[in-house]
Amino acid sequence: MKGSHVGEFEELVLLAVAALVADAYSVAICDELTKHTGREVKLGVVHAVLNRLEEKGLVKSKLGEATSVRGGKRKRYYTLSNAGKAAIVKAKEVRDQFWSVIPDFVLKGI
């Protein structure tokens, strides 16, 4: 299905959204990605990817409640759509299949 393929970074963003559950907003997603990948992730890049994922129908978003932090600006929270959940499950299946066919000797000595 066109538009359901996800790139590597898109997959990571989807995984971060899934991991954060109810707290998946852009700054938290950046922090989660930085924590797990070990490389600094730019806010603008994450925003662009989230926008693209929403256009593809893989995530949904809604504005949260107003708070006194962030200059009073509300956070936009993201959740996986059913298509988004299917996309990351599919991506995991593909990787697991590849891992299962790699002979042990290939990775010896790491």
């Binding site: 907003y25 852009s26 700054v27 730019k42 806010l43 603008g44 925003h47 662009a48 926008n51 693209r52 504005l63 932090v69 962030r70 200059g71 600006k73 509300r74 956070k75 936009r76």
Partner: protein, 85 residues
Amino acid sequence: MKQTPIPKPPRWATRLLALYCRPELLEDLEGDLNEYFDRHVLSKGLWRARLIYVADVLKFFRIYTLRRPSVYKPFNSMDYDRQLF
């Protein structure tokens, strides 16, 4: 006792963001930039935090954040045909 003023990002940069950004994205982007600004003030100092804020406002100038033109009337061939006949 004199209170220390709360550090704020450059107002002109915030106004620039509001000028080009789509209204439905503005609050979220501004909030994120404010959150990063507060972090950077603590970790890097006020001057660098303001510099980073301005750079981020400029970096957000992308196709998906830009306001759409307010006057947009797609060509409708039925309207055109109605005028002719």
